[in-house]
């Protein structure tokens, strides 16, 4: 059974396909994305306040390593699909980094099925955004086709203080410091309406992803192979790391989902600056036009079933 929020995504795709004039105001989109990031962070932070931080170090390091290694594994595969070095590196970086909304849909699916997961999982999301991007830039440099003018200082600033990591970590910190009782007064805004806001945001993502469908034809089979073939493979890797860390069933499913997800907010901007030779439309078509819909409609239920089987 598809989660109700996914229907909103499909409605957005449908609206774009039938050329509806539906368009969410940009200010609303910005507001929704800020809300989602803060809410995800806060929720994780509240749980974080209940446990010793030192115990989380292995998880944080493993998540970062996973994000960093993914592009190096994908790069040869993408080169074998006849992508240029710059294109392969930029596309690999999108898959090394993560999608916060895919994560949010996965947590909603787990909650609906009554499967427990580590509630501080938002921390994993926050630390998995950057390593894949760094790996992608290194790959672009090594392939000698691009990235030679990378300004590392500026990139580090943009990634660490960009809105997604800033709001996730900020929310985590606020939640951890304020704790359950401290955040109780804002619960009615940040915790309870979360799923409704997610639904609205997915409507917008559906509109954007629907606009990308036409591009799939332009790039041919390579983008389909990557967009549909890569996520299940990465999910297996994520699940394996989750098992090695001794995570719960829900935790294994979430880490599999994070590994399988592709960034379409932080990565496109970072790659456009650091690897200008890469075709930005190719990466965004794969990440947002193919992988994102695949993950939220088909992938996540499979990853949850996989985690249940592995931890049974």
């Amino acid at each position: 059974m598809i989660d109700v929020v996914v229907f909103f995504f499909l409605l957005g795709v449908f609206a774009r396909v039938v050329k509806s004039d539906l368009r969410l105001p940009e200010a609303l989109y910005e507001t929704l994305s800020i809300y989602l990031l803060l809410a995800i962070g806060l929720k994780g932070g509240i749980e974080l306040s209940k446990q010793p931080l030192a115990a989380l170090a292995p998880q944080v390091l493993a998540c970062m390593a996973l994000g960093f290694v993914i592009p190096f594994v994908l790069f040869p595969l993408m080169r074998s699909l006849k992508l240029s070095g710059a294109d392969a590196a930029a596309l690999a970086a999108h898959y090394g980094s993560v999608s916060v909304v895919t994560f949010a849909v996965a947590t909603a699916a787990l909650a609906r099925q009554g499967i427990e997961h580590e509630s501080h999982a938002a921390l994993w999301v926050a630390v998995m955004e950057a390593p894949g991007l760094v790996a992608g830039i290194l790959l672009a440099r090594w392939s000698r086709e691009g990235g030679s003018r990378a300004r590392w200082g500026e990139l580090a600033h943009d990634v660490l203080f960009g809105k997604s990591v800033l709001l996730l970590l900020g929310g985590l910190a606020i939640g951890a410091i304020a704790g359950e009782s401290g955040t109780a007064p804002i619960k009615a805004v940040f915790i309870d309406p979360f799923k409704g806001v997610l639904a609205l945001f997915l409507l917008e993502l559906g509109l954007v992803a629907g606009g990308r469908l036409g591009e799939v034809r332009r790039f041919g089979p390579a983008v389909l192979v990557v967009g549909l073939g890569v996520p299940p493979l990465l999910a297996l890797a994520g699940a394996a790391v989750g098992l090695a860390l001794g995570l719960s069933t829900g935790g294994v499913a979430l880490l599999a989902t994070l590994a399988a997800s592709a960034s379409y907010i932080a990565a496109p901007t970072a790659m456009r600056i650091a690897v200008p030779e890469a075709n930005a439309a190719l990466s965004i078509t794969a990440a947002l036009g193919i992988t994102f819909p695949f993950n939220i409609v088909i992938g996540i239920p499979i990853y949850i079933a996989l985690a249940q089987r592995l931890t049974a």
Binding site: V208, P268, T269, I273, P276, E277, A280, I284
Partner: protein
């Protein structure tokens, strides 16, 4: 009219390009001595195709600078040499009249 405003010629450089270039472009403009500019979000289509601005990573800006001709030309040359190969860039220059030249 009996009185006439004194006006002074300056060059207006307009660069329409991808939003990710805003920060580096403004830095490079400042380095070359530009003092006054405005930036707007825009949508449009040009040689490389349409940039609808539907998505964060696909936004476009129009950067408008009023400055000395030498500054404008130096920046325009730099943008052509550095960015035009890999980014969507449209540049135009025109002469404008300003009232307070020291501000540009």
């Amino acid at each position: 009219m009996t009185t006439r405003l004194s006006t002074f010629p300056k060059t207006q450089l307009v660069i329409v390009t991808e939003a990710v270039l805003e920060k580096p472009l403004l830095r490079e403009a400042r380095e070359r001595g530009a003092q006054a500019w405005t930036v707007c979000d825009v949508r449009g289509a040009w040689h490389e195709g349409e940039r609808s601005g539907d998505w964060e990573a696909e936004r476009s800006i129009e950067l408008k600078l009023v400055c000395d001709a030498a500054v404008a030309e130096s920046l325009a040359e730099h943008v052509l040499a550095t960015y035009a190969r890999n980014y969507s860039v449209a540049i135009s220059l025109s002469t404008v009249s300003v009232l307070r030249p020291e501000r540009f």
